[in-house]
């Protein structure tokens, strides 16, 4: 499974739709303080099924919906779509798809929807899709800002999950 593109609209500071195309190798994201770089990381965690608002630096999940700025009012929906290329290492029910697009939506009234290739699915289906690939939202593959020292500062039993992910 390879990352191919990320579309964000109405999520945190991304009021207008933005698209990131990923190539092989390293994609660097740069910009001044507060411009929205870590919000992109939050968007990836969110579309992969993150359930804790606190983990996305919010109080309640609605905090991820664009809440307005000097020149714009708040929006009613947040939507993030992560498109993956099938390189053979995907769960069997998706083996025939060349692209797998995972989408998550949240409305102000609290309603939330998940899609895989435009078919509405449950959260469990999204979790199952990512589970086998080693990119669970808590795993070693996503290091949030300021957390790199955490692995060394944490207690020995808190580090066990790192090996469990490999097992």
């Amino acid at each position: 499974m390879k990352l191919s593109r990320l579309d964000i609209v109405g999520f945190k500071s991304f009021a207008d739709k933005v698209t990131l195309n990923f190539s092989d190798g390293i994609t660097a994201v740069v910009g001044p303080n507060g411009c929205g770089k870590s919000n992109i990381v939050d968007g990836i965690r969110w579309v992969m099924g993150e359930q804790s608002a606190k983990h996305l630096r919010g109080g309640k999940m609605e905090d991820v919906i664009f809440s307005g700025s000097e020149s714009r009012g708040p929006m009613g929906m947040a939507e993030v779509t992560l498109t993956l290329k099938n390189d053979g290492r995907v769960p069997s029910e998706y083996a025939n798809y060349e692209d797998i697009a995972v989408r998550r939506r949240l409305f102000r009234d609290g309603q939330s929807e998940y899609y895989i290739n435009k078919t509405q699915v449950r959260l469990k289906d999204v979790h199952d899709l990512f589970l086998g690939t080693g990119v669970g939202t808590r795993a070693y593959s996503m290091i949030e800002q300021g957390r790199i020292g955490f692995i060394v500062n944490s207690k020995p039993e808190e580090r066990r999950f790192l090996i469990e992910e490999v097992a």
């Binding site: 994201v29 411009c35 790192l162």
Partner: protein
């Protein structure tokens, strides 16, 4: 599953012992299973023993901010090399590192990026230069994030005055 855990631990430990001296240009490190009060590996803790070059063996707590970050990166990269995950997101992990450690970090990042895709958020010019593709995030309209893309493979080095060049 105890066997699988033990196997995963052994593989990670062996790789960590290779990656750490690469990043620190010497020294040594290893992982140890802590079986306090239980003999079941699935209940154990993992201890990190880290000894930068020229220093005495000490508890990881005494390491400096940069040494802790580099030790953690060695561990994350080791796990990556054993069980490559499709992609990895690193949000300013190079912030505590000095210039020479940023260069070593970038060198190893370049190597591992042959196996997995990386998304790297950084303020460091050196890390930007070793990327294949660069996105600049701006807020020209206050409060609204927009993207500017530069594909480094084709483009010249980011011109000094451009929106990306910090």
């Amino acid at each position: 599953s105890r066997d699988r855990f033990q196997e995963a631990f052994n593989a990670t430990n062996a790789m960590f012992q290779k990656v750490f001296p690469r990043l620190f240009r010497g020294g040594e490190a290893r992982l140890e299973l802590m079986l306090e009060g239980t003999d079941d590996v699935l209940e154990s803790g993992i201890d990190i023993i880290s000894q930068p070059p020229g220093k005495k063996l000490q508890s990881v707590q005494l390491l400096s901010g940069g040494e802790k970050a580099l030790t953690a990166v060695s561990l994350v990269f080791s796990i990556f090399l054993i069980k490559p995950s499709p992609f990895c997101v690193l949000d300013e992990v190079d912030a505590p590192l000095d210039e020479s450690n940023v260069a070593r970090f970038n060198e190893l990042l370049r190597e591992i990026s042959q196996v997995s895709q990386f998304i790297c958020i950084t303020h460091s010019k050196k890390t930007m230069e070793c990327a294949d593709r660069l996105y600049g995030v701006t807020m020209e309209e206050p409060g609204i994030s927009k993207l500017v893309s530069v594909d480094l493979r084709r483009a010249e080095k980011v011109p000094e005055g451009s929106i990306i060049a910090p």
